[in-house]
């Protein structure tokens, strides 16, 4: 029984990797669509990480964009000002994001903050980050942003190579997620999500596991944010704003299904398709995101995976 369940998850990971690897073949070499597909991978990655934080331990981090941005700015600014190698600064950026996420989590658990106050504190952090980047003009160039470039031939330069590099990163995120969930920590996460109080009484160290979830998730967010900085060729505060990242990630995760392995991936595909459909509406797409979010929160809280599970009667991971 147990071996069988892991088999299903391994098979799912393999199928995801193969299907996503085949996507560029279906795009017929269009650079525009390749870029959209790559962006889809980026948002899937954010959603996988956010899933660990919010989906499993109920910590509403409204600062996905700000965490990704912190990692990106730490990495890029060190490269530009100190002329270090991006290979050294990306891990530093990841570390920054992980520490920030861990500290938020530790402080909120220690102070016994409810979900809403965690939301407010992280929202406030998002705004502080935004204003800090705008204010520290000498380092960050403010609203104008900083131009970045790839990491050498094929790596994170626009083109097919980068798609596979980022796909690799996404698969690493998914594998980390899978390993985390099948470990002792995964069991603890499930207990905490069901009933935090009961988990504490059962002898689970709630503080440690919540902080673990938050810092692991934040590290992944930071990794993707920093990598995106080099792939995108340009960073400014808007790239990592609440509207550009957090909302998309929330909608993606809600669409796919919280607390599932496949949810962020399916949600990412659906969201990208939807986004393409509403693109002709121009500025109205913000409205569409909002409507989508309300509808999803109210009627579709368990996501696509739950529906599929019910329809096919198969245990989808």
């Amino acid at each position: 029984m147990k071996a069988n369940r892991y088999l299903a998850e391994h098979a799912t990971l393999l199928v995801v990797a193969v299907v996503l690897a085949l996507v560029p073949l279906g795009l017929g070499g269009s650079a525009h669509y390749l870029r959209i597909a790559t962006l889809m991978l980026i948002y899937m990655g954010y959603a996988v990480a956010f899933n660990i934080i919010f989906g499993h331990t109920r910590q509403l981090f409204l600062c996905v964009g700000a965490l990704a941005g912190s990692a990106a700015y730490v990495s890029v600014v060190l490269v530009i000002k100190m002329s270090w190698s991006p290979w050294a600064t990306i891990p530093l950026g990841i570390l920054t994001a992980a520490i920030l996420g861990g500290v938020f989590s530790y402080v909120s658990v220690r102070r016994g903050l409810g979900v809403i106050f965690v939301g407010i504190v992280t929202l406030v952090f998002s705004m502080i980050f935004h204003n800090l980047v705008l204010g520290l003009r000498d380092l960050t160039n403010g609203e104008t942003g900083i131009d970045t470039k790839g990491l050498g031939p094929g790596v994170l330069e626009p083109g097919l190579g980068s798609y596979y590099v980022i796909l690799g990163v996404l698969m690493v995120c998914l594998v980390i997620y899978h390993l985390l969930m099948r470990s002792r920590a995964g069991t603890a996460f499930r207990a905490i999500a069901d009933d935090e109080f009961a988990a504490e009484l059962a002898g689970i160290d709630v503080t440690m596991y919540k902080v673990l979830a938050a810092s692991a998730g934040s590290a992944l967010i930071g990794a993707i944010g920093a990598i995106y900085a080099y792939y995108g060729g340009f960073i400014n505060p808007t790239v990592y704003a609440l509207v550009s990242v957090d909302i998309v990630v929330l909608v993606t995760l809600l669409l796919g299904g919280m607390g599932t392995l496949l949810g962020p991936v399916l949600g990412g595909v659906l969201f990208t398709v939807l986004d393409e459909v509403v693109r002709p509406l121009g500025q109205l797409n913000v409205l569409v995101y909002g409507v989508l979010m309300i509808v999803l929160v109210v009627t579709f809280r368990h996501g696509l995976i739950a529906v599929l599970r019910k329809l096919t009667r198969i245990r989808i991971p």
Binding site: L60, V107, R111, L113, G114, V115, I116, F117, G119, I120, V121, L123, V124, F125, M127, I128, N131, L132, L134, G135, V243, I247, L250, G282, Q283, L284, N285, V286, L287, V288, Y289, G290, V291, L292, M293, I294, V297, V298
Partner: protein, 285 residues
């Protein structure tokens, strides 16, 4: 110096107008309204449209405030129902996400439809002098409006039976229900009232400088900071926090620049939550 102080107090009063709505809706409905600034913008833009159609400024402002109220009523009776149906942590989360979604809907629509419209109300006499200090008449009018609104609100809450009912629900919803109070109806009243006060805040913003469609998020975040620092369940605290932060804002913007000021305000809010979650002026934490 005095001019900055007056500016700060007036701005603080305006922020309190917005923040008190967040406090009331959270205290009574258990929903943290992240679309509160959008209520103000809806009211302000409605007033601006009336002004453009050639209406008397007073009538236009009244329509704007009423418009915000109607919008609040609609939101309460439709969008927030699923949140009210659940309880505890679920209601908080649902309310937060629904209003966040709503703020994007309003932003998206207004930016698309009324991008070029903004509310600016000009008074006949731009400024006058009191004891050698030049006071903008807009500031004076704004301060008067805000103070009258607060006086009315306090009188309503302290002196009328309905006000007593409202305070009882804020203290203990179950207990109030046991005394035969219907929280649902009172909630609708309060959301409408709060939306109207937000609309008033929007109009005051138009009086003070100008109100555009893109200002919703900014107003929401300022109001949220004030509500948090004042304590999300205390109305007196909200008023005090509004004036205090208004003064801090005015002086800091003058001396250290806008970005740093906002960071100071945001950090104040963050530390308040962490150190005194019931608010800076709460008698006990």
């Amino acid at each position: 110096m005095v001019a900055i102080l007056i500016d700060g107090i007036v701005q603080g009063l305006q922020l309190s107008l917005m923040a008190v709505g967040i406090t009331l809706i959270y205290g009574l409905g258990g929903v943290l309204n992240l679309a509160h600034g959008q209520f103000a913008v809806v009211g302000g833009i409605a007033a601006a449209l009336c002004l453009e159609a050639g209406a008397n400024p007073l009538v236009a402002c009244a329509i704007g405030i009423l418009g915000a109220g109607v919008f609040g009523l609609l939101v309460d009776r439709t969008l927030l129902l699923p949140a009210y149906r659940s309880a505890g942590e679920d209601r908080l989360l649902l309310g937060l996400l629904i209003t966040l979604g709503l703020s994007f809907v309003v932003n998206g629509y207004l930016d698309y439809r009324y991008a070029n419209i903004s509310l600016t109300i000009k008074l006949a006499t731009p400024s006058f002098e009191v004891a050698g200090i030049t006071v903008r008449s807009a500031s004076a009018v704004a301060a008067c409006i805000a103070m009258v609104a607060f006086a009315l609100l306090f009188a309503f809450l302290k002196a009328t039976l309905l006000g007593k009912v409202i305070r009882s629900i804020i203290q203990n919803e179950v207990g109030a229900g046991l005394c035969g109070i219907n929280p649902g109806r009172i909630r609708t009243l309060i959301v409408t009232l709060s939306a109207m006060m937000a609309g008033l805040g929007g109009v005051v913003q138009g009086l003070f400088s100008s109100l555009g469609t893109e200002m919703g998020n900014e107003l929401t975040s300022f109001a949220l900071i004030v509500a948090v620092v004042g304590g999300v369940r205390s109305i007196n605290g909200t008023l005090a926090a509004g004036v205090l932060l208004g003064i801090v804002n005015a002086f800091a913007s003058y001396y250290v620049g806008a970005y740093l000021t906002l960071i100071i305000l945001l950090a104040t809010a963050a530390f308040t939550i962490l150190l005194r979650p019931a608010g800076l002026f709460a008698s006990r934490t």
